[in-house]
């Protein structure tokens, strides 16, 4: 009668608080330069140390330039230098920019095999939900909680509620995990899963590759969820086998055997259930300024006046003004200036392969700028060994080094005011990709097809043009 959440929570509870807060042991703590400087400063001021530097790993992703491997300049350099100094002083291993193990923190965790089923993984970044794809319980935390974890290797939380999102049926050709995530958030809203951990279940989830599951879990936070997770199965074990932090020999066999118990029991009770028939889904795209403002790509910009909810209507009106869109406009007619392929949502090798498959042998539309930013140095290396970099370059796209880049616009990549971008990232908030920039969230294949035509385009729309 336990959910997967119950099982992992109970196995990590160091102290059960009477007033609703439990103390959880943290199996691994991932750090980056963006949210950690004040945490280390707090330790220093209080004369504390990092309790378990061996269970802590830092990388540089948020502010690093991706155009080349030169060091960042200005304030960004201060952030990177602070991380390097802090890691040195407190003995925390660091995967520096330019090293083989560097990359977006949520790409390298699974890649290194640090993210494992049944583990509690924390990081000072909301998209830590990504790691749940491997059956880990993984939360994003703020800087004060980062400091707490550094000092104690524990985190104090009230236990979230459990929500089952079941994806029924098989995904139609050309529909990806990103489209499913956008469709789900469109249905339940940006606060629809607030206070809950989503467990994704059902035939469509079981059929997904690990990388697709990482995309799905990544977007959970955009529905307000504490995190997302998928029970481990053969796909999980196959993904982890042989990775640097995965157990080996007898320890591996024991670990795999123990993972078979990591699923919600048949009679487990969820606080909320959502059922989605994926067989009717098609590529999705956002039209507004939060990730619930989405529509099928073959649809039109919705009319806010049709929304009976006054708050949603007013938000939609604001969004359309910001996005400079008119209700009734077919989404396919919306032109873009920039296409961004990358981020912790869609910067893994399968994403790059899918996009390259669309671009191969073609040129992107004139006037469109396309950035391809691999999620990690390892993804970059694999892509280059497969010749994907040549596909992107020949198509006219920029081939970059690993980092968060245009997803968060904290480095030198950003949109100019008024520029419109089809982006495989996770947030279409006002100004997210640069002040005044306009973001349409899409899947990697939609991004690639859009780059070819210069307008929001699904790969299936390309047939007649090619």
């Amino acid at each position: 009668m336990s959910t997967l959440l119950d099982k992992i929570w109970d196995a990590h509870t160091v102290h059960r608080g009477a007033g609703g807060t439990d103390l959880l042991y943290v199996d691994f703590h991932l750090l980056h330069e963006g949210s950690s400087p004040q945490a280390f400063e707090g330790l220093r001021l209080a004369g504390r140390t990092v309790r378990r530097p061996d269970l802590t790993l830092a990388t540089e992703d948020h502010v690093v330039p991706t155009r080349d491997l030169l060091s960042p300049s200005g304030v960004a350099a201060t952030m990177v230098q602070a991380l390097r100094r802090n890691c040195e002083e407190f003995g925390v291993p660091l995967h520096r920019s330019g090293s083989d193990g560097q990359g977006i923190v949520h790409v390298i965790g699974p890649e290194l095999g640090i993210t494992q089923p049944g583990r509690v993984i924390l990081c000072g970044d909301s998209h830590t939900s990504t790691h749940g794809a491997l059956g880990a319980l993984a939360f994003g935390i703020g800087t004060s909680q980062v400091e707490h974890v550094l000092a104690t290797q524990t985190a104090a939380f009230a236990k979230p509620k459990a929500m089952a999102v079941t994806l029924h049926g098989a995904l139609p050709e050309g529909v990806s995990a990103k489209d499913v995530a956008l469709a789900m958030i469109g249905r339940i809203g940006t606060g629809g899963a607030q206070g809950h951990v989503i467990e994704y279940r059902g035939a469509a989830v079981e059929a997904m590759s690990m990388e697709a599951r990482l995309t799905l879990c990544n977007m959970s936070i955009e529905a307000g969820a504490k995190t997302g997770m998928v029970a481990p199965d053969a796909v999980t074990a196959e993904y982890l086998r042989g990775r640097p932090y995965a157990p080996v020999g007898r320890a591996w066999d024991e670990a795999v055997a123990s993972w078979s118990a990591l699923h919600s029991d048949d009679d487990a009770e969820f606080d909320r259930r959502v059922d989605i028939d994926v067989t009717t889904l098609s590529p999705f795209v956002s039209w507004g300024t939060n990730p619930s403002q989405v529509v099928a790509l073959d649809g039109v910009v919705p009319d806010p006046a049709a929304d009976p909810d006054l708050a949603l209507r007013s938000a939609a009106e604001r969004a359309l003004t910001y996005m400079d869109l008119t209700p009734g406009t077919p989404m396919r007619e919306i032109p873009v200036d920039v296409v961004f392929l990358g981020s912790c949502t869609n910067g893994r090798i399968e994403d790059l392969r899918a996009a390259a498959g669309i671009l191969d042998g073609h040129r992107i539309a004139s006037g469109v700028r396309m950035l391809v930013v691999p999620g990690s140095a390892a993804v970059k290396k694999t892509a280059e060994s497969e010749g994907l970099d040549e596909v992107f370059r020949s198509a006219g796209a920029e081939w970059r080094s690993a980092g968060c880049s245009l997803c968060v616009a904290m480095n030198d990549d950003s949109l100019a005011a008024g520029e419109r971008c089809a982006s495989t990232s996770n947030r279409n908030f006002e100004g997210r990709q640069g002040r005044g920039g306009r973001t349409h969230l899409v899947s990697p294949t939609t991004a690639a097809a859009t780059a070819l035509t210069g307008r929001l385009t699904a790969p299936s729309d390309l047939g007649a043009r090619r």
Binding site: T21, T78, G124, G140, Q153, T154, G191, Y245, G431
Partner: protein
């Protein structure tokens, strides 16, 4: 952290839902290694819009911010909390908060007060009609009051106690040092194998 039991001040309302932390403070303004220096960038883009209440002289000195549902959604940046505090806010009232923002607020000593949607709307009406209206946030009785309205605040026992005591979260956890140590003795760690 200073103990907080009751806060009285003037309020200001942002009648927008899903106010994400990117709007509270944009990423480009988070490139700092301190917890201060963020006030001038609070809602920087929206403050340039005519009629936006933050920065409106009529609401100068307000310490209690009212927002729509899902306030603080999105990025985990604690800078959003620090920027609100840096600007002078001590309380944010909404019917629902982003989980990470809520946790960050509690840990930094900014009171996130959850009230019903209708109550939040009624309070917004009051502070918009009279920017000088006094608002009281009472964590002892868990009520939010103005001269004309009153609403219960929903807050867990632990969160309330944390404000009332003002204890440092790490100190509180370190009281369980023996339990942490015992847990570590039997728990299999993640180690690099190859």
């Amino acid at each position: 952290m200073k103990p907080i039991s009751t806060i009285t001040g003037r309020g200001v309302a942002i009648r927008r839902t899903s106010v994400d932390t990117d709007q509270i403070i944009a990423a480009r303004h988070c490139l700092r290694t301190t917890r201060t220096g963020f006030a001038e960038h609070l809602f920087a883009t929206w403050r340039a819009e005519p009629g936006f209440p933050i920065g409106d002289p009529a609401h100068a000195g307000a310490t209690i911010l009212f927002g729509g549902a899902d306030f603080g959604s999105g990025s985990s940046r604690e800078h959003a909390v620090w920027a609100l505090q840096d600007y002078g806010f001590t309380v944010v009232v909404a019917s629902r908060f982003g989980d990470i923002f809520f946790d960050n607020a509690v840990r930094s000593g900014l009171v996130p007060a959850v009230v019903d949607d209708d109550a939040a709307t009624a309070m917004m009406d009051v502070v918009e009609a009279d920017p000088a209206a006094e608002v009281t946030v009472d964590l002892v009785s868990l009520t939010l009051r103005t001269a004309r309205t009153e609403a219960p605040i929903r807050m867990s026992t632990d969160t309330r106690q944390r404000f009332l005591d003002g204890h440092d979260g790490i100190d509180v956890t370190l009281r369980h040092e023996a339990a942490i140590r015992a847990f570590e003795l039997t728990h299999v760690p993640i180690v690099k194998a190859s």
